[in-house]
Symmetry: C2
Subunit: 368 residues, 2 copies
C-alpha cells in the first residue's frame, strides 16, 4: 500500500521490527539508555538547547500540554488559526478557560504577520500566541520565522506556543533561533514512527511561566516529565514500543542528515504540486506557502472525492486523505512526509490520472 | 528474560508480531474493523453492557479521564487510598479542584467497608468515591464488591470510580453486577500488551454526570471518544500498533477463556506466596486480601533490596520490582499477571533462593 495521508506515515522495516521488541522494565537500565540516546538527537531535530520531553499521547495531547503547563484561566491568548488544527489549538485553550481571541484566516491562506501585529497591538497584555506551523488540513506552512519575530517585536513577553506536529523533522523549525517557547511534534508524521508519542520542547521563558500557571494538569504535567527525564525515566508508564522504534528512527534520520531530509521533502512536494497542476487541478494553498509535507487539492466541479479515494484505495493501492470539517468533500490531500521518495509520488500521480475519470473528472493531460 | 514486574508484562509472540504491522489510515476501514472486533470483547472482559472506550494514554491518563469527565471543581470526593496508586487517583482529583477527603489505610491493608460507610455518613453529598481495586504498590486487592455495595447503600447517587488498571483481565471485575460507574484498565497489565492504551468503561449514571461535569478536558474528553467509537473511529490519531496488538491479544485471551485466566492467576499467585513464605519471608499484604497479580515481599533485616534486584537481573535474568515512594528499599515486588505460567514462578523462586544470600539474607529453607 502506498499510504499517502498526512500521517500516520509509512514506517521503515527496521522501525517496524523494533516495535515488536519484547517488553523491558520501564524503570530499568534499558529505558534509561534509550532516553539517553534519543534526548540529544531530539534536541538536534528541534534545533534547540531546550529540554525536549516525550509524552505518551497523540499530537493533540502534546498541544494540550503546551497550553496547560504555561497558562492560567483568564489569560489573554491570541489564537492564530488557518484551518482545522488551528481551531483545535484554540479550542484547547478555550476549554481550559483562557480568554481567547481568534485571528482566523481563510482556508488556503497563511497567517499575515501584519494582521498578527495589529491584533497584538489591539490587545496589550496578551500572554500567549498559538501558532500552527504547518496546517495539515489545508496544506499551508505558515511563515513561522516572520510570525515569531512579529510577536517578539510587538509583545516581547508573550509566549509563542507552536503546533509543529506535521512539520518538525520534515521542514526546518529553528526553535532557539526563532525564540519559540513550546514546540510540539508527533511521532506519526515525519519521524517515520507509528502514532502515540508527542515531543515537546520547552524554553526557559516557558518554564518560568510554568511556575505560576494555574490551569489544572496531572498526566500532562511537564514538570514531572522533566524531573523524570533528568533521571532517565518517565513519570508514568510510557509507550515502550514507540521508544524502541524512536531509537531506530532517529538513527536512520541522522544517517540521512537533516538538510538532506528537508531537501527530499521539498523535492517530493514540488513533484506533487507540479503533477496535480498538470492534471488540471488547483491547490487549495496559496502557492507561496504550500506545504512540503501535505498537498491539499481542490475538487473540481463533478469530482466525487469519496469515490476518488475509494477507487485509489481499491484499484491502485494508494491511500489519500479527504477534507476535514467544512472542507469535507471539497478537497483531497496527498501526504508526502516521513518515508517518502520520488517513486511514491510518481505512483500516486499515475494512479490519480487513472482514478480521476472514474470519479467524475477528466484530467487535462497525462500527469506523468 | 523473566520479566516479573507488575507491568509492563511479557507479551506473546503473536502480539509482538502484530505490533510491527505497517501503518494504515486511522480513519479508514482497517481501523473501523479492528474497533468493531475488539469492542464486544472488551465489554465481555469488563463484564458490562456499558461502552468501553480506548484512549491512547497510560493508566494514569485513564484515571484522569474518569475524574475530569464526571466531576466539577468543588465536588465532594471520598478518595479511598491503600497505597501509591490510591494517592495518585486522589492527587488527580485534587489537581482538578475537587474537595477531596482522603480515607487512608496503612500499607498492606485493604480498605475496610465499615470505615468507608462511616466516612460517607459523616459527609453527606459526596459526589464520587475513588477506589483502587488492586493496589500495585502493596500487592493488595480491595474487596471491591463489598466496597461498592457499601457506597450504594450509604450514598446511592455517588459515582463509583474504579482504578482496575492492574486487576481487570486477571482478577474478575463485575462492572455491571457491582454497579461501578467508571472502570479503568491499562494495556500493559493482564492484557499482555505493551503500554500506551487505557480502557475506560462508563455507566449511564456516569454519562449523566458528564452532562454537568465542569472540570476542563479536551484530549481526555470521553464524549468525543464515544461519538467517534460509534462511527468506528477515534477523536485523535490513536496508537495504531497497540490496536493491532489488542486485536490479537483479545483473541488469545478469549481462546483461553476468562474463567481459566482467573484460575491461572490464582494458581501463580498461590505458588508465589507459598514460595516466598517457605524462604522465611513475609508478605506486605494482609493475606486475606493478597493480590493475584502482584506479590509485595517485606525486606527482612539485612536484605539490600537494590542489590537483590541487581543480582536477580544480572545473574538470573529475572526482573522484579522495587518499592515505590515510602516503601522504597523496604519491599520488593513480584509480578504474576498477563503472560505467566507456573514455570515462570518456579524459575523466579529458584533465582530468589540463590540471590537472597548474595544480598544479605539467608533463606529459611529451599523454596522449590
Amino acid at each position: 500500500v502506498n499510504l499517502r495521508i498526512p500521517g500516520p506515515t509509512p514506517c521503515p522495516p527496521d522501525v517496524l521490527a523494533a516495535m515488536s521488541r519484547p517488553m523491558v522494565d520501564h524503570r530499568g537500565p534499558e529505558t534509561a539508555e534509550i532516553l539517553a540516546r534519543v534526548a540529544p538527537k531530539l534536541k538536534a531535530a528541534f534545533q534547540t538547547e531546550n529540554d525536549v520531553l516525550l509524552v505518551t499521547t497523540s499530537g493533540t495531547g502534546g498541544l494540550e500540554s503546551a497550553v496547560v503547563n504555561t497558562l492560567s484561566p483568564g489569560d489573554a491568548v491570541l489564537a492564530v488559526s488557518i484551518g482545522n488544527f488551528g481551531e483545535r489549538f484554540s479550542g484547547i485553550a478555550t476549554a481550559y478557560g483562557a480568554d481567547v481571541t481568534k485571528l482566523k484566516f481563510e482556508n488556503g491562506a497563511a497567517a499575515d504577520p501584519t494582521k498578527v501585529r495589529a491584533a497584538l497591538a489591539e490587545r496589550p497584555g496578551t500572554r500567549a500566541v498559538l501558532i500552527t506551523h504547518n496546517e495539515t488540513s489545508t496544506g499551508v506552512t505558515n511563515p513561522l520565522a516572520d510570525l515569531a519575530a512579529t510577536v517578539r517585536a510587538e509583545a516581547p513577553d508573550a509566549l509563542i506556543l507552536v503546533d509543529a506536529v506535521s512539520s518538525l523533522s520534515s521542514i526546518p523549525v529553528k526553535t532557539d533561533a526563532w525564540d519559540l517557547d513550546v514546540v510540539v511534534s508527533g511521532s506519526q508524521k515525519g519521524w517515520m514512527l507509528p502514532p502515540g508519542l508527542a515531543f515537546v520542547a520547552i524554553s526557559a521563558r516557558a518554564w518560568q511561566a510554568n511556575e505560576t500557571a494555574r490551569m489544572p494538569r496531572y498526566y500532562f504535567d511537564l514538570k514531572k516529565h522533566k524531573q523524570a527525564l533528568d533521571t532517565g525515566s518517565t513519570p508514568w508508564t510510557p509507550a515502550l514500543s514507540l521508544f524502541f522504534g524512536l531509537d531506530v528512527a532517529l538513527e536512520l534520520l541522522e544517517a540521512e542528515g537533516w538538510e538532506q531530509i528537508y531537501a527530499r521533502h521539498q523535492h517530493c512536494a514540488d513533484l506533487t504540486r507540479q503533477g496535480v497542476k498538470r492534471l488540471g487541478l488547483e491547490l487549495l494553498a496559496d502557492e507561496r506557502y504550500a506545504s512540503n509535507t501535505v498537498t491539499a487539492v481542490k475538487a473540481p466541479p463533478g469530482l466525487d472525492v469519496s469515490r476518488l479515494r475509494k477507487t485509489l484505495r481499491e484499484r491502485h493501492n494508494v491511500v489519500v486523505g479527504g477534507g476535514q470539517a467544512d472542507l469535507s468533500g471539497k478537497i483531497f490531500r496527498i501526504g508526502h512526509l516521513g518515508l517518502v521518495q520520488e517513486e511514491d509520488i510518481r505512483e500516486t500521480l499515475a494512479a490519480l490520472a487513472e482514478a480521476l475519470p472514474v470519479a467524475g473528472y477528466q484530467p487535462a493531460a497525462a500527469a506523468v
